[in-house]
Symmetry: D2
């Protein structure tokens, strides 16, 4: 039994450097970045500040930190374990748009991993290389409006062979990044063999370049009023979209397998970031309550405020430890042996963080709900993560079944 | 003891008519209205659809339903008690922008009441008449960014006499309606006599017409990403804003008294509407769960779904009853004798509704958080009501003190 | 639509009298009664104090208040509607053992109703008359340890005909009152026709006098450490228990029908009482927090205490209103048309009360959990009511299904 | 930064042995032990089974596992760190009375630590040696009914010097173990110098042997109906209780210092055990739901059951990790540098465990609340731990203050 949750010296060093970068370049630019987005003619354009900051991060070696250990060749720093990446990812979660500065934002990280694991050399050269450089962006098109997409076997977008081409027809939504002006490639999951007796062999994933005829962006979607520009989430329609045979990923009928491999890290990354989002909200609340008085007493001296700060502190500690233990287990035994703890993390952390931030916003008075703080956007982030990759309830169903089996012997 | 919560025949008749109007004119226009706002060049303009619907509502006698019984002369239908207005207001809460159709939206209803109760004939003629006609709109400027405005005695905007004019200097925020193109008048609360030994006589309220030099709208504010256009909430600056002496409301040093009288109905109206917001969310959830299946079973048959529907139904029932009882008490004994129940309602209903909607959104999968349903916006409405007129905690402090006193004899 | 929740003048008068009785005779005897039970040689004997108080209550006309309107002939005061009984029952709920003083305790009230509704004249003479006089007590034997008894069709105790006798074999538990020395009659639900194609016609209820050979009391059961003496809950075994044919209630195969009719009022009575239990806990907490200081400040001035008092007050208000509305509907349309609101009440009030009492106990420090206050026992009462007549979840399932159907049209 | 939460090989070996002992000797005796207590003439006598099991545990080297590393000389196994003790203590928490089998039960463990740290050689020989052997038992008398004892400076029991004796006068309650027939020594905290300007130097602790004239046991106390026999919690009176000068512990005026040192480990031990209590409840629930069906479906397949099992699993994981991290920090930097995490643990784990067990009981139907399972007693254990060493709120106040200070720089 090994429960050593200490990050490696390399990770600790990177964390120190990253914190310095946040202090020097990110926090001081929060307002400016928000203004660039606010004033942008195209909300889904790349903001000039983002490009400046990316250059700085790259120069300091804070780049592609997400690259996993086994694919260390793709990163100058050589790849990190889950356990090592967690505190770095948490740090980035303190400013919601900052992961992109370090080329560590969803969905590109997950897509790059897909390319590392499943792509051909040609596919990697064409798409992975510019993604690793931060020159282009990518989308992962899985969720569909008509079906409960959390059960990947429900996916209905049709992928048919016609001559030496794949033909795609269907509708997708919540396709993160689709509208961004630098997004050049879509990884699309669809059903290529609906009659295959194995429900897990009916799916295929193909690569669809931006601009392919028939691929239409219908609209940006909002969650709780946020369009999450300039990344955003879109609804897409595929009408007779044609791509060549070689655009298949891994192989026909192997789409489900890719989805399984891709999603676990993504869930963990969200949770890592959310720890940072909650932690920063707590810190803002601590500052706020020392600055504001009601009825002749600083908020910081009200018993109820202290109780809520205390509760939030404790909950964040627990959530962070849950993330770390799950990371350690993934590192040691792989994600497929860790589905229980991944599900526990995914169904616990976002809800917990939502509640922590809700309290922290409340301590800020009306201003706490506005764009003057990162909390409201963080609240939205936590809230939609309870739906990302399927509603929590679906994962709880699987975890509950597993736990019952373990302790009942059935 | 009288706890007859039955609405009068007049109110029941109006409710039937109102429901018919909602069915015929409001629900079918939800999408169209959203699109008009979305595509508007000026998000704070009046949408053409709104004007059309207002005309229809006026024609059907569904107009100024909010007018209280004692000011029945101002309404064609003759005024309604709180208890009679509650189910009507609930009905309007089912579509967040619909109250304006019936000239029943915040903050105009509260402002009109202020004019009815406290204004001179001249003031009434100038402002109340067009407000009752729905020709202009108004704002109530109380909350300030620098102080905990829930304690009205903290207000800092300075109102000084200079010759025969009042001179205003200060900053306000969360001023609902300020940016709307039809907003013509601001009721502004400020401090005119900071050294008055009575903390409740230091405040004065004056009328500031839109366009008065020195009154600047700084920015729209968002809550959870919503700008609530075309009504919205603004940050304002008053720089040497001058208005004539006769623009004082009720009298110098009587601002606190006006605030007390104005705020109770406003809180109740929000709660009435939120019942409708929650009820509609529940109905949407009921429809959704019969249409969607996961893992081979309609959501409607999942035990957890049924438990959450059941819980939501029960909570809405309780919240509605709490609103009705409080209304009944206000009708019978006035708001000043009902501060306990008003506080109980204000601190209970928004949070309860927030939780109900959170569950209903979750049952909708990712789409539940988007603009495709009214739920996300309703969630935002419930959330900010926990801050409106001061954070719930401030009201709980007062209520707790009162209850402790009642049962401890201290 | 009629939502007049005002109790009748008769009920209001009774309430005044009952409150006076509580003040004069019940509260001053709480300690003495607890000591009599504590020191009793047989914890399930009748305590002398109980008999004294029963005589006093009878003399004051505070007797058999539970008798429903339609059976008014059985009560000197002529029967009360649900709505009228609710505040009286709430009042009794303030002292957990006090309902028996007024001959209004479970399970006798429910059993007496069964006799009123379903018994023959001979059965009524033999059992109902002494029950109404408070001379004997009774039990209702339904729940079984081996099956989920919330679904009454699961009941397994066998009732077979043998000549002119019924023969009972099976096991029951949570049979309230079974051990009390005055309990003389058991109403036993069992399966007489397991092969009947209608699952609701397989059951029969028969009367089994205490002392019938083969009826064995196995043990008292505790919930959260309470044996609820001298009433208590027992586990029973029926081994070839024989009773004559005429001991059948209503008729062979009609056991399910009786159970349906009996249980709704019982659920409502528990909820009515629990409102009183919670209300008294809140009042105790209010007194406590004015008497105790921590860190130089009376608890009553701590913001968190005020928030929790405030929350508890509001929740009790809502729960009480929910009970009253459900009562009103039962009065107007009968329990079978009110299953939705009965389920809403049954699944909401006990949990809410449990939480209120939990807070109130916490405000009392360690002493709050002891026998020095009625709170801990009240907590236990609320807790087991979440299981009484089946776990809340079963009722939520039914209610959820009903609500989904109502709003989805399915 | 070191967050290695892996127990040492020695601890892992002990855990394996302990689990074997539980399987072989404890679980099979749960019913028998409960019956011995139930049938005992004196509920506070030592049960024969306990003595048998203690001998077996001693023989297997599972004895005095609680002894901390720095006092390793007092234990055959040489002392364990907090981190190493945690999983062992958790294991014992699965059966509430089992810690005594291993001489690891409260309050003796804490008292023994007090003797190790603060006693003279003579005191140690007289009391520590037989305690370590399990021959006698001890009590720690701190809490008083009249004052909020969570603030130790409130303690009022008077300790006065008279000649060469200390004279004690006052009242204590919740004195665990006081009534047990083997309890021979009381460590009593009182006020010896009420006028000392330093509030932390007014207290002294003295040793009072059982049987000293004037020391009266007033009554056993229950929490939620449990008397926790044969250990139990008592109310005591000290009336002119006289002990010789040498019975002082550490020195006059140093009582507060001892209390500080004693309480942190005690809090952690409770939390460690509660993890085991919760874990066992979860396991029981998992078994139950596979054995019981409602409405034609095993409980294990109901979505709501799976969600609650899932939630409980996740919460226990988090709570366990919080305990372990706090242990690690105490080991590394001492309890006085770890007050934040100790408070976080103490205010989080008992409440969380209470909620987990509440759910698990509910899944068991009515039986879940009875003595047929360990859950109800475990629920009581978790509940009173929220009051032990002061209500959670007091610790949250301190932690909240500390966290606010840390992040606000104030």
């Amino acid at each position: 039994m090994d429960l050593n949750l200490t990050p490696s010296p390399k990770a600790q060093e990177l964390l120190t450097k990253l914190k310095g970068f946040m202090d020097q370049h990110i926090y001081p630019n929060e307002k400016a970045y928000a203004e660039q987005v606010h004033n942008a003619e195209n909300r889904f354009a790349v903001m000039p500040l983002m490009d400046e900051l990316k250059e700085k991060a790259k120069a300091e070696g804070l780049w592609n930190l997400f690259v996993p250990e086994e694919y260390g060749q793709y990163s100058d720093i050589g790849g990190l374990s889950f356990l090592d990446y967690a505190p770095l990812c948490e740090e980035m979660g303190r400013v919601i748009w900052s992961p992109e500065v370090f080329n560590c934002n969803a969905p590109d990280t997950g897509n790059m991993e897909v390319f590392m694991k499943y792509a051909t050399d040609a596919q990697r050269e064409k798409w992975l290389t510019p993604l690793l450089n931060g020159d282009i962006r990518s989308s992962y098109a899985m969720t569909e409006p008509q079906v409960a997409s959390s059960d990947a076997t429900n996916i209905e977008l049709l992928i048919e062979k016609d001559g030496d081409e794949w033909v795609l027809n269907g509708r997708k939504w919540f396709i993160t990044g689709a509208m961004n002006e630098r997004t050049k490639i879509f990884i699309v999951m669809g059903k290529s063999d609906p009659d295959n007796p194995s429900r897990h062999k009916q799916q295929t994933q193909v690569l669809v370049p931006q601009g392919t005829p028939g691929l239409k962006i219908i609209r940006p979607l909002t969650t709780l009023g946020y369009d999450d520009a300039p990344i955003g989430h879109a609804e897409l329609v595929f009408e007779n979209v044609r791509v060549p045979m070689e655009n298949v990923l891994l192989g026909e009928g192997r789409g489900f397998e890719i989805a399984q491999g891709r999603l676990a890290p993504g869930r963990m990354h969200h949770c890592m970031r959310l720890i940072g989002t909650a932690q920063r909200s707590l810190e803002l609340a601590c500052q706020r309550v020392t600055q504001r008085s009601t009825f002749g007493r600083p908020l910081a001296k009200h018993q109820s405020i202290r109780e809520e700060i205390s509760r939030s502190f404790s909950e964040i500690e627990m959530a962070r430890l849950l993330v770390l233990k799950t990371c350690k287990l993934i590192d040691d035994q792989g994600p497929l042996q860790t589905t229980d703890m991944i599900a526990a993390t995914k169904t616990t952390v976002p809800l917990l963080v939502q509640n922590v931030i809700d309290r922290c916003m409340q301590m800020h008075g009306a201003g706490g709900l506005t764009e003057d703080y990162m909390m409201a956007e963080g609240f939205n982030y936590a809230r939609w993560c309870r739906q990302a990759d399927g509603p929590d309830q679906v994962h709880q169903m699987a975890l509950g079944k597993q736990v019952i089996g373990r302790f009942s012997g059935q």
